[in-house]
Amino acid sequence: MKILLEQGRLLDPATGRDEITDICIDKQLIIGVGDQPAGFEPDHVINASGKLVTSGLVDIQCRVREPGHTHKATISSETRAAAHNGITSLCIPPDSNPVTDNSAVVELIHHANHKAGNRCHIYTIGAISKGLQGEQLSNMGSLKKAGCIAVSNALNPFTNNLVQRRAMEYASGQDMLVVIQPYDRALYGNGCAHESAMATRLGLPPIPEAAETAALAKDIELVAQTHARTHFGQISCARSVEMIRQAKRDKLPITADVAIHQLFLTDRDIDGFDSNKLTIPPFRSEQDRDALRQGISDGTIDCICSDHQPHNIDAKLQPFPSAEPGISTLDCFLGLVFRLVDEGVLNLAQALASVSSKPAGIFRLPAGHLAAGEIADVIVIDDQSHYQCDADLFASAGKNCAFTGWDFSARVETTIVAGKIIN
């Protein structure tokens, strides 16, 4: 189908190009930006005047719960939610059940996405060790061939530094990105809240900063040793931002992301034992949040992910320490990204780049650039919209929202994935 997106405010995250113009799409590709190619006869015209037209968003950390936890959500439900919210590429971590440590699971996921109508591109992050056990290396070459775009041990940190070193070396030999969530299991203990006056008052088992920073320090040293291209996911501490800043100054091949909710909520928000605000890593202090905001603003942190974790109702209907961690964020991702602009943390071009071209660059995905010849993942945003976040209206199967009642100003009107109008 030939689609003409007419007279929208085009903002290309990759180049910062910002002008009111047209986009022409034919089959899967963008075939023209600005001037229409000669003889272009659109089958469908979308009037985007007064709206923002940009690349589909890229979310590099999103749990879809399939395979293994389909009572919480499915590839079908979460790709629908993603498309509904302008996210056209999803990277899913390997801690499904079964673990994504072999090509059969990768194929299973792609098959399920195809069956669900390919509403968005799914990319799998393979397990770096068999069963995420941290003992034997996974068949990374086969995983890459099957389509994995990176490898990770998810929230199962290596307990053996030698195995971790070898895994990182082997991955770099396959030219695969290593994704690490810095996590020291012993220092986490049975903790469920940032170690602070709040955890002390509420009597919640505390999680010290060192549960992240001690692991991160070791991980950075192993990057220095192996030169493996490494991405640090979902960091939460001011000290982590500073360590990454220094490692980048030292020219180590590292990048980092932060989960969108970490840029807004702090340990104060868990007052009242709201289990929807139980996360791993936990919400930390205001100073930590401000340092994360500074980090994303000055480029120390490269990009923002949703860290979407949809849950069934029962998973959260528990006293705080017994509830399952994680927030359903796909349905408020765009709203929160635009709040970063409204609150002066990022300008619009930076904000859009941090959720499209930048993560696409790190994970080498064909996304985040509006130009002729690129895959036509394009979204139309009404950025003059005003509404309140309401979990009951979420497209995601997970209604475990931490932002109910927040005011948002941006809403996706149209999502085009590979030239197909999905939403």
Partner: protein
Amino acid sequence: MIHNLQLNSAGKLKHFLDIEGLNHSILTDILDTAESFISVTDRSIKKVPILRGKTVANLFFEASTRTRSTFELAAQRLSADILSLDINTSATVKGESLLDTLHNLQAMQIDMFVIRHQDSGSAHFFAQHVLPGVSVLNAGDGQHAHPTQAMLDMFTIRNYKQQFENLSVAIVGDIMHSRVARSQIHALNILNTGQVRVVGPPTLIPEQAESLGVQVYHDLNEGIRDVDVVIMLRLQKERMRGALLPSEEEYFAQYGLTAKRLQQAKPDAIVMHPGPANRGIEIESSVMDGSQSVILNQVTFGIAVRMAVMSMIAVQPVADA
């Protein structure tokens, strides 16, 4: 929201979950009401009809001897019907969810739940999910709060010292894991206690403990110097396994309350312990059984204080949602 949960629209107790968020006048009301019940517990017929026709369910997900039995006695002396559930043999072990257990009991027309559970915040969780008109009394939630214990301790202090303003109180031991200490600290501060101290090794003092309104000491002799009240906390033996302490011997040498050490406190200082005590680990037998110890009186007062809280909740309008 957390603190309003236990008060009704008139500012009276609807649930009793946490000392934090209550004011001086409610705490004083509890102490005064408990005072009036002391005479009941001294009578030959130890009953008043305040809870007649009401059903109280004791729901203990964690082991307890004195809290559970004093709650039972308190309910009986107020003429309530009482149902005590041993959770270890009940449906939750068979996989029933917490809420389903609660809802099933509610279907038996329980008016008041007395709940102890290992999760901090569990009392709030239950209070958020009971029907309007049903009350929750927190008998200990994780490491968060144990408000009736704190109130019986306040009752004990007032009984011996008459006031709080000019007192120095030291709480000694495992503050980190103690719901009793947290509730005591809040109560002492709300009652305008002159000085509240906590004493223990850094591994047993929680992060930013000062923010609770206490002075932190790591040396026992300094920590109890010239205090009017010494509250010893129970040291759980599993703390040794978690590398929080080297050994029981070392702990007793550093933090055990001996008769000699007690001389650092004022001559008329009282010694308290919420029980169960470990003789020879946190407290020497001669101190525990000595003239300054009021530990057994705490248990007696516990019944009157729990009667007070139950009766104050029971007189609130039923349907105040």
